[in-house]
Symmetry: C2
Subunit: 119 residues, 2 copies
């Protein structure tokens, strides 16, 4: 339904940690989950994610991400790197430009971690 451009290849996303509300979190699981939520704990990164997730092309050129968030190019590049390291986005070089796309499955994992306990 989209994509004149091929979408970026989606990586496998590993689940993580029992849902917070279902079982007591182990210390290791808590560290890992916190690391992932930390990627969402910045306004610039949330705006970037939102821009990527809502673009009808399914991906956005890095050159089109700087102006909307109102930060310098190095700062945007820095946040994109963090998002990439958190597995929330993927990137791909296309000629001179770099295109970014969200990894929906990675957001789903975080969503599941907040799911209510069964019954």
């Amino acid at each position: 339904m989209v994509a004149e451009l091929p979408l970026l290849a989606q990586p496998e996303v590993e689940a993580c940690c029992a849902p917070v509300r279902t079982a007591a979190l182990s210390s290791d699981d808590a560290v890992e989950l916190a690391r992932r939520f930390a990627a969402l704990a910045d306004p610039v990164r949330l705006q970037l994610l939102s821009l990527l997730a809502t673009d009808p092309r399914g991906a956005v050129c890095a050159c089109d991400l700087v102006e909307p968030v109102g930060k310098s190019q190095p700062t945007v590049s820095h946040h994109l790197k963090l998002l990439r390291e958190a597995g929330l986005v993927v990137s791909e070089k296309r000629g001179v430009n770099v295109w970014y796309a969200v990894v929906p499955a990675a957001l789903d994992v975080l969503r599941d971690a907040l799911a209510p306990a069964p019954s």
Copy 2:
């Protein structure tokens, strides 16, 4: 199904911000959402939330929260304060002790913010 003890009163929880994957986030919404996710971006706070959410009594005495997370009493108190300020937990004094309970609706709000865009 629970509660010999009365559960803590649940406050109203205000929704916040269009879902990240549905519409482009405004700058203000992004700041507010980031503030809420920041409350989840720490292992100790996630463990505390998990302890509260999974306790069959629906609430836990602060005195029973220090040992499980392996941090000092002031540190635990500090994190509980942040969780309270983020609206993720509520507290109530019962005699000498203070009891804490999660606010499930507040976690649901964060979950909804990560919901996939409607088809």
